[in-house]
């Protein structure tokens, strides 16, 4: 008890001193309307920030000074200043924003409006809505290729990837994938895109030049019913070695060889694992576990879960600030 008190005061001291020196992870808690701030060296929660209603997708500005938050039930995107940890602005987002992606130009924010079947493009500086693009039912996943050429949206009920040209804001191609696609992740060189299909239980690998599927990955975990194996979040290491795939209610993260697409291992994490992110040295992978309301920390070198950190209720997204 005494120890717990000491840790608490220590944590308070850190949070009072403003942004700490250690790298920080930000976790959106969908049912607490808060962002948990985790010190990635001590793996402790150092602050909890109150934000808008039902925060889900979160992302960092390219200069790492601001955190954008989809406050889904407030129908807005909030801008959190990371230095002061205060909401400094809101952006027009369209209804029920769930996920979004920022163009490398650091200005064009692509927002999936789940209830409206559109993707809204907002200029985060002028707050102008640049385009609203009709997509399939329940747009969810959103990704922009690192070279800035493509924005890809997944529509869950239409089971499609919509390939949006970022110069014209028009859809150039639609591709059908497994049921309920959730997330898209590009490789650093923008050549390959990974897309997860939650209900289909598959991950689809696309060659970006041709926009053709080149591989499909399936998952089988011993002792887990097949229909609980539901791929959601995807994270790729920058060296092209691994892909990590969060497998939802199976409570496992799959480790995939990013070159051969072979599944190497399944790591047991918390309940209903949702999204994941690597820390700045790619030494640790953080996963949000919605049902157990915690974050699991995976040691990337050993491929072992080393810790779970209690956060708010229903943690949804996680991003780690590489510069803090």
């Amino acid at each position: 008890m005494k120890n717990a008190f000491r840790i608490a005061t220590l944590a308070a001291a850190i949070s009072l001193s403003g942004p700490a020196l250690a790298s920080l992870a930000y976790v959106s808690n969908e049912k607490d309307d808060t962002i948990s701030v985790i010190d990635t060296e001590t793996h402790e929660v150092v602050d909890t920030i109150e934000v808008g209603a039902r925060p889900r997708g979160i992302l960092l500005s390219k200069d790492h000074t601001r955190l954008f938050i989809c406050a889904s039930d407030d129908d807005t995107v909030q801008v959190l200043d990371l230095a002061t940890r205060k909401i400094i602005d809101t952006l027009p987002s369209g209804e029920d924003p769930e996920q979004f992606a920022l163009h490398p130009n650091n200005r064009h924010l692509y927002i999936a409006n789940e209830d409206d079947a559109i993707v809204t493009v907002v200029d985060v500086e002028t707050k102008d809505v640049l385009a609203q693009i009709d997509v399939g039912v329940e747009p969810e996943g959103m990704a922009v290729s690192p070279d800035g050429k493509w924005a890809v949206n997944t529509s869950e009920t239409s089971s499609m990837l919509h390939w949006i040209n970022t110069e014209t804001f028009e859809i150039e191609k639609n591709t059908v994938v497994g049921q309920r696609p959730r997330h898209v992740e590009f490789t650093r060189d923008s050549k390959i895109a990974w897309a997860s299909a939650e209900i289909g239980g598959t991950v689809h690998i696309y060659d970006v030049d041709t926009i053709e599927e080149i591989q499909q990955i399936e998952f089988k975990i011993k002792g887990v019913p097949q229909d609980q194996v539901q791929p959601v979040g995807i994270e790729l290491t920058s060296d092209g070695k691994y892909a990590f795939v969060a497998l939802g209610p199976s409570n496992h993260v799959a480790v995939v060889d990013a070159q051969t697409y072979e599944v190497l291992d399944y790591l047991l994490v918390g309940a209903r694992v949702w999204q994941l992110d690597l820390d700045k040295d790619e030494k640790y992978l953080y996963t949000t576990n919605g049902v157990s309301s915690d974050v699991s920390v995976i040691d990337v070198e050993d491929l072992k879960v080393i810790k779970s950190i209690k956060v708010g209720r229903f943690p949804w997204g996680v991003v780690i600030d590489p510069t803090s």
Binding site: D96, E114, D115, A117, D134, G136, V137, E138, S155, E156, T157, S158, S159, M160, H162, I171, E172, K173, N174, T175, V176, G178, Q179, R180, E198, I199, G200, G201, P225, D227, Q228, Q230, P249
Partner: protein, 390 residues
């Protein structure tokens, strides 16, 4: 709103097409036929069932299909008839068959569905979104009929699993007078054997007084027994059941068709993206989505998912596809759904709900099955005489 005698032809066409990926445009028309016999006066008429339950779910299914179809050059439309009686319903079927429609969603009684299936023969595929009778899944199966509405056995097995899990194994069963009440109670008696429950009292409801004046007097006396863990009510149309909770002899929960009970769908379901489906439905219908709406929606989404997968329509193609390994329906119940090959029933988890919240969603953990846990709900292959796919 008077829906009777109203012929609704809802055509939802897509005005514009974006970058079609398939060369050939497809137009798919689905027939929706609705006939619900008058339920007679009920004591508890505080919240009447919406008259358009089923139809509105079908409309949402068409809208969802078109939202996907517009990218693939596939257009879906609905032709719907709200009939006044069985003959009118059958006549509507004949007319639509003559007009070349080969896919139907029905919300009609079991006997009418059987008559329709016989008339349609090899010329159409029917999705039953209204009749829960177990006979349709165990003895009287038709190869051209699929069921998206859960059977009574699926509903009562969900409840039975939960009562077993809670260790509330001694129950007091009250059964209403209608055929549906009796069918529900029969299903529950079967579930009680499967899940180790004991029916300590099995009483038919025979009272005909107005319970709004005398519920507090009559029901405690009616539910007198040595002891029980829960009261189970079989009152499908909602006649007397709403008066049972809080009026039992012993302080016990009330479950079944009233109190807390199994539903194919309910407004309190929000997990697995269901909140989005609920919102879309509310925007379309200005009311909450119920089980019949969900069953009709699932039927039309089955058609849409199959047509997208096949890049062609036609009832025989669709039937073949949806019994293949390729078919999977994402239907907001947390896992992919498909159809039982022996009787055409859509496998699905069953939410257990009370009016303001979700209690559990069977199949519950620990009730095992060699193929899929979803088959712990309802008649499994060895228990059904049906083999609609030889």
């Amino acid at each position: 709103m008077d829906l009777k005698s109203r012929l609704l032809i809802a055509t939802v066409f897509c005005g514009w097409l974006l970058t079609p990926t398939s060369a050939v445009a497809l137009d798919v028309t689905v027939g929706y036929i609705h006939w619900v016999p008058d339920q007679g006066p009920v004591l508890s008429n505080v919240t009447p069932d919406p008259e358009d339950a089923g139809l509105r779910g079908a409309e949402l299914g068409i809208a969802d299909n078109n939202a996907t179809g517009k990218f693939l050059d596939q257009n879906y439309s609905l032709e719907s008839v709200i009939a006044d009686g069985e003959e009118e319903a059958l006549a509507a079927l004949d007319t639509m068959l003559e007009n070349g429609i080969d896919l139907f969603v029905t919300r009609v009684p079991a006997a009418t569905l059987q008559a329709m299936a016989e008339r349609a023969g090899d010329n159409a595929l029917l999705f039953n979104a209204g009749a829960s009778e177990d006979d349709l899944r165990t003895r009287e199966c038709q190869p051209n009929v699929l069921h998206t509405i859960p059977s009574y056995a699926m509903l009562t097995d969900a409840l039975g699993q939960w009562l077993n899990m809670r260790r509330w194994k001694e129950v007091f069963l009250i059964t209403g007078p209608t055929d549906q009440d009796k069918a529900w109670a029969d299903a529950f008696r079967r579930s009680s054997k499967r899940f180790g429950l004991t029916i300590v009292e099995d009483k038919p409801w025979t009272f005909d007084s107005d319970l709004r004046r005398s519920a507090s007097k009559e029901l405690p006396a009616f539910t007198q027994a040595r002891d029980y863990d829960a009261v189970v009510v079989a009152d499908v149309r909602g006649d007397f059941g709403e008066y049972v909770p809080f009026n039992t002899w012993l302080a016990r929960p009330v479950v079944g068709t009233q109190g807390m009970g199994p539903e194919a769908w309910h407004r309190v379901v929000e997990a697995w993206g269901a909140a989005q489906l609920q919102n879309r439905f509310r925007e379309l219908a200005s009311r909450d989505m119920n089980s019949e709406d969900y069953a009709a929606w699932a039927a039309i989404r089955t058609i849409g998912t199959s047509v997208t997968g096949l890049s062609e329509a036609g009832h025989s193609n669709i039937r073949e596809y949806l019994f293949s390994d390729k078919f999977q329906l994402a239907a907001f119940k947390g896992r992919k759904l498909n159809y039982r090959p022996w009787n055409g029933q859509l496998r699905q988890p069953i939410p257990l709900v009370h009016p303001q919240g979700l209690v559990a969603t069977p199949p519950l953990e620990g009730f095992l099955h060699p193929d899929t846990e979803l088959d712990t709900l309802g008649y499994d292959r060895p228990e059904s005489d049906c083999r609609i796919n030889q």
